[in-house]
Structure formats: C-alpha cells, structure tokens
Symmetry: C2
Subunit: 467 residues, 2 copies
C-alpha cells in the first residue's frame, strides 16, 4: 500500500485506531490455523458509518480488506493473504441487548459468544450455538464461519439462529437483511448466504439472533467401550431410539491418553473409546432418557456406563472432553485440526479409515468430536519445522478429505474453508458447483477486495504445510 492511502485511511478512522507499527502488524498476521501474512495496516472498527466509508475507499483503490474477530479460526479465514487492511471487528462490541418478549438478542460483532450465553440465561433463555472457543471467540467470527459446537446435534449451528443482519457491502453500502421475525421469505435469503461466507461477501456490523427457552434440566451419561466400532454402533442406536441428545461426543484412546498426560482424571486409557451424552429438557424426561441411553450402551457391549449425579460430577466428566485441545498441543507444537464430516451412519467406517491413514503415514492422529452429527475432529499433531513430517501430514490431510467425500460427507462441518481447504473445493463441489459460488462472489465483489485468497482456490493450488 502507498503512504498516501494510509494517510487517507487515517482521515476516515478516528485517531488511535489505525495501526501501522510492525509489532502490531505482526500480531494481526496469524489465526488458529497455519501460516503468517503481514497486513499493510490494521484498523480497529467501532462504527458502521466509518466502516462503510473505509470499504468505499478500499473498493475505489482496490485495497484488500480482511475482517477478523479474535482470530481463533481454524481454517485461515482471518488471514490477510493478499496484505492490505485487516479490519479488527473485536473492538466493535458495545451492543448486547436481550429482548425477552421477541426472544431475540441484538449484538455487535465484537461481543464474545459466551457473553451472549450469559446475558440470555439471565432471562431464562438460551443461545444454543456453543463452539468450544465461545469464551474467547466473537459472535462476528462465529457468524463469518457459521460455527457449530457440541449442541449442534440437537439445536443446529450458528446459521440456524441468525434472523437478521446489518452488513456493509463490498461497495460500502449499508444494508439490512432479514429482521426481528423468525419467519421471513421476502426474496432471497441473504442472511443465510452471508453467514458462513467467511467475510468474502460483506462485513457484518450487527446481528439479530433467535433465542429459545433454556431447558430446565440436563443429565449426562458416560459410556466406555473396548472397541471404537462398538462405540460407533452405540451412537447410531441411540439416535434411532427416539431420543435426540443435546450433545453426543466421542473421545478415542489417543485423546484420552493425551488428557491423562496433561491432567490425570482417571480416564480409562486402556479402552478404545469413550462417549459422553448430554440430555436436556424436563427433569422427569431427561432422567428417563438417561436410563434408556444407558441401556442402549450396555446392550451394544459397553464396558461401563455411568450417570453422574451431582453437578460437580457432571462437570468432571465434561472437563475431560474440554481438555483434549489444550492437551494434544503439548505432545508436539503444531496442530492441524480438521472437521471433515460424514453422514452419521458412516462414523464407524470413517473411524476405521482414519486409523488406517494414521498407520500409513505414521502420523500422530487423535480422534474426538461431535460424533452424534458425524462431525469428527481428526487432529494431527506435528512439528512444522520437520519438513519431512509435514510432507506426510499434507498427504494424510488430503486422504482424510477424500475419505470423507467418498463416504458422502463434506470437507468442513463447522470450521470453514479459508485458506486451508480451498485446494480441495472442487473435490466436493465439482467444477460447476464451484463456479456457481464464484458467480455470486463476482457479482457482489467484482474488485475482489473482501477477504481475497479465501475459499476459492487459485488454478492448480495445492495444500502446502511443508514450506
């Protein structure tokens, strides 16, 4: 970028919120995935009018803009791969209003998702999407990536709870999509198009989220299996038994081992798998359902089933699941976190293929995740300075994606495409499917200024982790 352009930006944005120091630029150059890209300038967002003016200027001058929240993204969405402006939306966090009568929350993009959870609960309400990062990630980032979470099984993902948006278009106009009503079929659904578009179609400056009554009670069931395949069978059986758990999580032996090494919790590390189930609803209903789920697990051949009684016992059980991510990065410093997702019935087969890939490429692979909706998290732990290992990781990742697609699944269940998965888009969508997406991008952002280099692959682009 030219000096003149940065001067112009300083005229648009109030003092102190335009950063150009190299240390500042560096802190905005990475996210929770892979790679470092230094922007030319960072702008901290506060006001929609200011953002609109900034985008207008950038569009006129053909300067890339990459909006970002807290950059916990696991797919590279907030990386300024073409330089230009990083627009920090985490500073735009003034609005968090709960309207209990309309059952909605109205929020600024920079609000932390866990703060929405807390605010809704004060009114006996619930905002269901619960990405594991919710205590550090912003709702704006969740919206951009259409984040999921354990409760996705019963309640769906971020998109299912967004009914209205305020958006700055790539030309710097401010539009409103949807509104405060849960039903709206007035023209094309721009709301659901923009949610999950990873900052490539517009900058979200406000959102209206649907809330639901918070279920009054919950129960947890923990089941331990000697065989991973049996655990998969139990999951299928639970889901066709007429019960829809709020969470149904899986941990394999390697993830239990990692957690035990990190913090000893007494996990059954000699078992192949553990599943954790949460049921929520009416107190009598969830007690009945917990018993039923236990029986299904025993029938399928669980080694042990436990229904923790007190809240602290329940917390202890869920703690194991929460510790997987921090635990595994202690093994080796580089974590490649995937979220390839398969139809529920293909979970056992996907587990089998993942074990094969692990052996074939001699990689450190850990399997855990939201098994109830087929959204596993195969995580590869490696060391990025070991080029030879990273080559094997590249091949393993490619094979994981191919397996998910062969089984009728998808590249990404909840993390998004970003830079990490764009080389594989055609594998899933085909030439024309991808082209129909590109047509929307080109019609909305002909100058390609909003988050360029994301989602859409360059011709011949391949995944490179080893350079």
């Amino acid at each position: 970028m030219e000096k003149r352009q940065i001067q112009e930006i300083k005229k648009i944005i109030a003092k102190g919120r335009v950063l150009t120091d190299s240390s500042d630029l560096y802190s905005y150059s990475f996210d929770g995935s892979f790679g470092t890209y230094i922007p030319d300038v960072v702008v901290q967002a506060k006001d929609v009018q200011e953002i609109a003016q900034l985008v207008k200027f950038a569009n006129h001058e053909l300067i890339p803009i990459t909006p970002r929240g807290q950059a916990t993204c696991l797919s590279g969405g907030p990386l300024p791969v073409r330089g230009g402006i990083v627009l920090d939306m985490s500073t735009m966090k003034d609005l968090l209003e709960i309207d209990a009568e309309d059952l909605v929350a109205i929020v600024s993009p920079g609000v932390l998702t866990s703060n929405i959870h807390k605010a809704a609960e004060k009114f006996g309400l619930m905002y269901p999407p619960d990405p594991s990062s919710s205590h550090v990630s912003t709702i704006g980032g969740n919206l951009a990536e259409n984040s999921g979470g354990p409760r996705g099984l019963k309640y769906g993902v971020t998109k299912d709870y967004v009914i209205g948006l305020e958006v700055v278009t790539p030309q710097g106009a401010i539009i409103k999509t949807g509104g405060r009503t849960v039903k709206n079929v007035t023209g094309y659904d721009l709301t659901k198009l923009i949610v999950g578009s990873e900052g490539t179609l517009g900058i979200i400056t406000k959102a209206i989220l649907r809330l639901i009554p918070k279920p009054p009670a919950s129960e947890t069931v923990m089941a331990i299996f000697d065989s991973l395949v049996d655990a998969g069978a139990a999951i299928s059986k639970i889901l066709i038994s007429g019960i829809l758990p709020s969470k149904l999580e899986l941990m394999d032996q390697a993830s239990m081992q990692a957690v035990e090494d990190y913090e000893p919790l007494g996990l059954p590390i000699n078992a192949e798998a553990m599943i954790l189930i949460e049921l929520d609803g009416h107190p009598v209903a969830v007690r009945d359902e917990a018993k039923h789920v236990s029986k299904v697990c025993m029938d399928v051949g669980a080694r042990e089933v436990k229904i923790p009684q007190s809240q602290s016992e329940k917390d202890e059980v869920w703690k194991a699941r929460k510790l997987v991510s921090p635990a595994i990065v202690r093994i080796k410093p580089t974590k490649i976190s995937e979220d390839a997702t398969v139809p529920r019935s293909k979970i056992p087969e996907m587990c089998r293929r993942l074990q094969e890939i692990k052996k074939k490429y001699n990689i450190h692979l850990v399997i855990f995740g939201h098994a109830g909706d087929g959204n596993l998290h195969p995580n590869i732990i490696a060391n990025k300075s070991d080029k030879e290992e990273m080559k094997r990781v590249e091949q393993a990742v490619t094979e994981i994606f191919q397996s998910a697609i062969d089984l009728g699944g998808t590249l990404s269940g909840e993390h998004g495409i970003g830079t990490m998965k764009s080389p594989f888009m055609k594998m899933e969508l085909g030439e024309i499917g991808l082209e129909m997406m590109k047509r929307i991008k080109e019609a909305w952002d002909p100058n390609n200024i909003l988050n360029p280099g994301e989602i859409f692959p360059e011709p011949g682009q391949k995944l490179v982790l080893s350079e």
Copy 2:
C-alpha cells in the same frame, strides 16, 4: 413460441408429456393466488437429464420456464407470467426413501409433503414442516417457497430441514448442493439460497431432508378470551415462561363465526379470540406444561381454558382451526390471503391495526394464524368482479404491508413474494438490498429464463387486483 420450438421440445421430452391443448394450457394458468396466465406449452417432468436438456434448449432460445408443483401457492410463484414453458414437477415423484440411520429422507420434488410425514412416522421419525396444504402440496413447491406451518414456532420452516439438493441450473447443468450431513460449511450455502428462491435460480430435482425423532406425546390447550388484546398478552406470557409450544394458533371472532356458519362446532362466537396451543415431548413433561400454560391464560384473564383429554377431543379442537380456510371462501368467492409477519411482541398492536384497516376500507377481514411466531394470516374475502370493492382491497393490502414493516416485520412469513408482493419489495428491502438480490439472479440467470416476472418488480409496478 414458434412451432419449431415446440417440435424441438417434443424431441427432448418423451411422448405424451408435452401438452399443447388449450384446455391443458388453461389448467396450468393459475395457482392459489390471483390472475391467469396461459403458457405456450406444458412439460410434465420425469427425469433430471431430460430437464437439464430442456433448460439448455430454453436458455439458448430465450424461452421462459416456470416450474410448478401442485400450484397451491398463495403468492403467484407458479404463474407463467411471461408465457413459455410450464414445467410440471408434480409428475416427478418416484423417490421417497427414509434412511433412519442417517435421519434423512431423500425425495423427488413431486412427492406430496404429507407422504413424507407418513413415511417418516413409520420409523418413529418426524419431518417437522407442516404447511396447512401438506396433503395436496408437493415438497418441491414447499422448497421453492420455503413453506412454514403451525409447527414453525418450535421447529422452524422448510429451509431448516433441507441439507442437500440436486438442482438444474439456468444453463442446464446439474449440480449438487450440501449433502447428507447436517453440518456443512464448504463454501457458500447454495442450499439455503435456492430454497425459497421461488424457482428463479434453479429447478430442484431432488432433496435430502433432515428428520428428527417423533416426540412421544402431545397435549392441547384451548383458551377463550373476551378481548383480542388479552389473547395477545397471553401469547407473549406463554412464550417467556420457559415453554416452547409446538403450535400456538389464534382465531379471531370473524374466523370463528365463519367456521360456525360452515360447520357448527359450538365455538364461542361471542368471544373476541381463541388460542390453541399444542405441546409435544415426553408424556410427563407435556402434562406439566399444559397445566402451566392453562394457568398463564387464566392469570391473563381468559374466559375459559380447556385441556381436551381424549384424542378425538383434541382432533375436534384442531378441526376448528383447519376449517377456517375452506369456511371463509363461502362468504365471498375471492380470498386474498396474506402472511405479513411481525415480531412476537407486536402481535397485539398488529391486531389493533388490522381492525382499523378493516373499518377504514370497509372490507371483510378475518384474522387467524400462527400467532406464536408473529405470522398472522389476515385474509380478505371479496368478490373480484366487484371492481370498486377490489380497489378498496388493493389499498387495504398496501396498508397491511406498511403496518407490518412499520412494526419491524416482513411482507411475507411463509407464502413467498411471487407476483402478489413484488411491488412492495423496496418498501422492506430498500433500493440496495433489492439490488444485491438482483445481482445474484443476473449472475446465475443472465437470460432471465427461470420464472421471469416473479419476486423482482418492474419499475413503477403496483398491485392491481381490480382489472
């Protein structure tokens, strides 16, 4: 259209499924809304490859194609307003597969929605969207219009249950969007863009629908109010009490009167409003919730509250609601059925404004509908041969839309825009909001062959019912 073009179509489509008799053309010229438009030719669809070839030909020759299901549409979506080809999708109905393990249904567009309900129930599963027309409308039509229904309150609308589509693009290519997984964030959400696009972006030839376990029990509560405003207050109170009913329906005095005249059921026709609530879930939970809802209604000042015990008593109560539509068309032959939707908290105010509009224009207005989600159905009953009355209806409709938008609502909650509401699009979306939608249409269908004349208004277009 030229004779040559029809000859070409007959080469593409197998014998007997290309109709050109004037009586056939007439039967494809209307839907459940207003106006008659005679197509040049009708093609009965059977096979995706055939449809792809037909669309390719139409795109090359610039012939409009209007796909339609059973044409129960209330907004004009299946009307061939520019002539050309009507593509009857109701004949493409061979596929209705339930995969109980993956919790999905895979269906052809011509399958009746009620047949999906029945097929899912055989496996103890449920396809939640339940438009009142489900016994006569096709899933393809429901997908095109993103249909709602009473259960929308708790379970959402059609779009919330579509996870994958097969679509013929305006250029005649066959693409797949989404898939069999409930989570999928691979690129833009074309599935949710196409659902509700009213046949203007592609022709849906197959759909993968998400199913849920069927709740084991349900209870019904009926509450009668002397004042419509009290009924509105009760609705708000129920919704913030921590209970999410599966249905929450309202009938005003005029709709009860119409039903009583049509079939005497002993409805309280001297009351201003009746609300009907359905709760579903665990047997103990729904019994508790029914008691709680009854108490809320009594506290707000209901004249009478009833919890029907036997299934036949429950059916009787719901019959009243189902008879409203057939009953009101007996009063006068022309029914203008609206679905302007407001935020829940604005239901009492919207009811007040509707009463005012009724008086001001001296029209026969009946109010009923899905009050729990703000999706009222103000229906105007008139006689289309009475030009003077229809002028008043035009003005009243315009004022109903303006009221909904003034209260933060939308033109359409579940019926779609079609031809009936396109003149009002800018009122809700603004110039640029509408333009961003148009950009998608133009990028996908530059020749404007798919369902032209729908959704997007001509410059200066007004609602005309009086000609």
